[in-house]
Symmetry: C3
Subunit: 208 residues, 3 copies
Amino acid sequence: MGLSFLPKEYEFFDMFDNLANYCVSASKQIQDSVSSENFTGSEVQKIKNIEHAADKITYEIFEKLNNTFITPIDREDIHSLAHELDNIVDLILKISNMMTIYNVDKVNKKFLEVLKLIDTSIDYITKAVNGLRNLKKGNSIHEYCRQVNNLENLGDQLRNEAIAELFSGGFDAIYIMKWKDIFLNTEKLLDQCEDVAKIIESIIVKQA
Amino acid sequence: MGLSFLPKEYEFFDMFDNLANYCVSASKQIQDSVSSENFTGSEVQKIKNIEHAADKITYEIFEKLNNTFITPIDREDIHSLAHELDNIVDLILKISNMMTIYNVDKVNKKFLEVLKLIDTSIDYITKAVNGLRNLKKGNSIHEYCRQVNNLENLGDQLRNEAIAELFSGGFDAIYIMKWKDIFLNTEKLLDQCEDVAKIIESIIVKQA
Amino acid sequence: MGLSFLPKEYEFFDMFDNLANYCVSASKQIQDSVSSENFTGSEVQKIKNIEHAADKITYEIFEKLNNTFITPIDREDIHSLAHELDNIVDLILKISNMMTIYNVDKVNKKFLEVLKLIDTSIDYITKAVNGLRNLKKGNSIHEYCRQVNNLENLGDQLRNEAIAELFSGGFDAIYIMKWKDIFLNTEKLLDQCEDVAKIIESIIVKQA
């Protein structure tokens, strides 16, 4: 171990920022992949690469946690936050894989709307994660987390509308089957964002 | 806090009775909504109102738990029982919402049979909850819980028959998709009732 | 309790061997049931009998655990291993029941391939369980567990191929619905095998 001019505890925050940035990249990438309302599976490899990078940094956070005696925030919160941020990237990859396996070609329009909600939610999470190194900004972090919760509620409404539309007649059974499954997983993704927000809020409360 | 002539600990039992009664109301309401073998989503609002009321009393139980030093039954059992009773109402609302979103119009006949099982199960739970304030009646409470378990087993059989019927030919794929999902959730509801019965049985065992 | 010439602690290993053998029997039986590429539900009863026998030995392990003061491996590991091995048999029965209820007649060819993976995975688990009584063979047990993990990964690939095939056109919605559900459960079964392998690996690590 070399000398470090920065207090070592700040490294955790850098690592979390990196991990949150991978969430952002994965979200941008899935949006790009479907932006033309056509889905080309060839783009999935890019998300797979992001997922590998996110796995790597998550593993590094766990390693550092094992080798650090005094941590800037509770050990179990560091573990949960890394794990749950990593799950966001995993779910984005899962949805992309699902679209390939289901041989999706024409993209459901409500799906594009849900992806935008997800992207906004991940942006708020990134801001909240970034704020962790300066908890005097607790109020704005709390506001970011509140926005993530709002977006989860909006997502539930949008999913209900999307599924109601699928079953309103005019769509064939196989199309309904595919998109019902995909919307189930976008719901999980927004729930996952909410879980991350909850962890961040509990960190703020403890440090207050 | 004012004076109370009743020992305060009894209030928990009153609150549990109230919560169990909301389970009964929600069950009666979903039966009414589909009784004509047609489903009209306009009735869902009534179940939504019951669900809000159940949430409120559950929250009040948690509040009271936080402010009470000595509780008549184990703290964690009070918490679990409130939470799991509330989940019964949540699941009834979920099934009602699902029927609206799936644009269900003609009600599957086996569904009406399952709803009757659910209603009977909730009646036994209400009796068991009511019995908690007088644990000398442990034997009859145990019998109510045993009935809830029986009804869960009967529900499994009935669900298997219902799904087998859906796949026996003569139904179109979209109809099958809707009802398979709904029967999956009625199964969860009967499992949920069984979970409540298990909590009640464990309370009796501890106090014996 | 009578006298026993064998050290009593070895009985746990015999019981685990028995339980693992029931996993093997259930796996062989489901393979037989579908080997002709036709599925006849009459064979399900045999799997049901195996499942009852596995339940019985699992219960006996729990009983013995309650009555034994010093155990050859950690108490919680004995409990988990019994419970998770029993779950393997439960899942095989669940898949068989599902095939009956879904009125499956023509067996999907990829399903036969998945069943072979499952059978191989269960064979490795049986060898690993058998090795527990002689932990000097830790290395070979570790190798069996590694193979179980490999098979889980292969299973994921095979399931993706199977689902992609279902959605490639040429299959009707009801057929897709049935087999998608069945492949979801074979995935759970291979995950379950991996969970057992994890427990066994953690036992080896602790005793090393």
